[in-house]
């Protein structure tokens, strides 16, 4: 049974109880920082070692889709923060609205990510047997979603990168492994976050969050913002290598 807002024996005040919950969440988030930090570190070392292949891989990502998703995720962090505020001042209808908006923006992010992933499958950019960084350059008819002009730029990039790195395909595959690994883990965190948001929404319809007790909204908010921060770093690391041509 949910003892909403009950003061547990080990705490003196509700305030202290809430600070403790938030401290615990932060300690968990620190472990998450180390988790993603380690992955980004491994990525950085590979990117430094195989710079040409990683730059080539990065340039095959859609900056429009990635940039759009960055805006969507930042906006979802804003609606989440507004949700926390709504709970703190007891505006129960606003809380429901902001939680719903946050979920909606989360799903917009998933939708765009689906489009991006699907594109990579069509362009033979998924690590494995059929991976071919030159696929679109060599089969323009199969990649009609890329403009002819853009493809011409890509052809020159591939030629230049081949000169610099004879093993381009293998190293570009490494880039795409990192891309799917990192964005996949990020998306997994978002799926968990969306699940938590649905749970908050359900509870907010039961009206259990009040200005005196809204700890879960606050804690899930911390998690959602953390996932946003991960994307804040993933976006420049993955999408913005060597864009200037």
């Amino acid at each position: 049974m949910h003892r909403t807002g009950a003061l547990y024996g080990q705490f003196k005040t509700l305030e202290q109880q809430k600070d403790t919950a938030s401290l615990g969440m932060w300690i968990f988030l620190v472990t998450e920082v180390m988790f993603f930090g380690g992955i980004m570190l491994a990525y950085t070392i590979n990117r430094h070692t195989y710079f040409h292949a990683f730059a080539m891989g990065s340039n095959t990502l859609s900056l429009t889709l990635g940039g759009f998703n960055t805006v969507v995720l930042l906006a979802s962090s804003f609606t989440m923060a507004m949700g926390v505020w709504s709970a703190q001042v007891g505006k129960k209808d606003l809380l429901k609205m902001f939680l719903s908006l946050t979920i909606l923006l989360g799903f917009v992010f998933f939708g765009v990510k689906y489009v991006e992933y699907a594109q990579k499958f069509h362009h033979h950019l998924v690590p494995g047997k059929s991976f071919d960084i030159t696929y679109c350059v060599n089969n323009p008819s199969k990649c009609e979603d890329i403009g002819a002009e853009e493809l011409e730029v890509e052809r020159k990039e591939v030629d230049a990168a081949m000169q610099a790195d004879p093993d381009l395909n293998a190293h570009a595959q490494l880039y795409y492994s990192a891309y799917f690994g990192m964005t996949g883990l990020h998306a997994l965190h978002m799926v968990i976050g969306a699940g938590l948001l649905f749970w908050l929404l359900k509870n907010s319809f039961a009206g259990i969050y009040t200005p005196e007790w809204n700890t879960p909204v606050d804690i899930v908010g911390l998690y959602w913002h953390f996932v946003d921060i991960v994307w804040i770093f993933l976006f420049p690391l993955l999408y913005l290598i060597d864009r200037h041509k």
Binding site: L23, S77, P236
Partner: protein
């Protein structure tokens, strides 16, 4: 204890709005900067903007600015721990000669003179 006198600070919507607008401007800035050839500085600028954005999210969206000192200490300790991970590993890679006598990064393929190792 001073901590017991800590009262919940409610961050107002106006602050959130100012922060999200700043974050969006910084996102535009980081995309714009990627198209300017700054050589080695491109990644530095991109990461500096990312750090700034993350700091704004932590301080305001995550209320770290108004959290008890104990919580702030945990956050700072976490970032410091990450810095140790990054610094020690990168300095190792930057100065390492691997078992084949090849200096990092391997694409440069510089063989270091001397007997082969390993």
């Amino acid at each position: 204890m001073a901590d017991q006198e800590h009262h919940e600070h409610i961050v107002q919507p106006g602050t959130y709005l100012a922060i999200i607008l700043t974050l969006l401007v910084l996102t535009g800035l980081t995309v714009g900067a990627a198209y300017v050839n700054l050589g080695r500085l491109n990644i530095v600028v991109a990461l500096a903007i990312a750090v700034l954005k993350a700091t704004l999210v932590v301080l305001f969206f995550m209320h770290a600015k108004f959290s008890p000192k104990r919580t702030q200490l945990v956050i700072i300790a976490g970032i410091f721990w990450l810095a140790i991970l990054l610094f020690m590993t990168l300095s190792d890679y930057a100065s390492r000669i691997d078992y084949r006598g090849v200096r990092f990064p391997m694409t440069q393929n510089v063989r270091i003179a001397g007997p082969s190792r390993g």
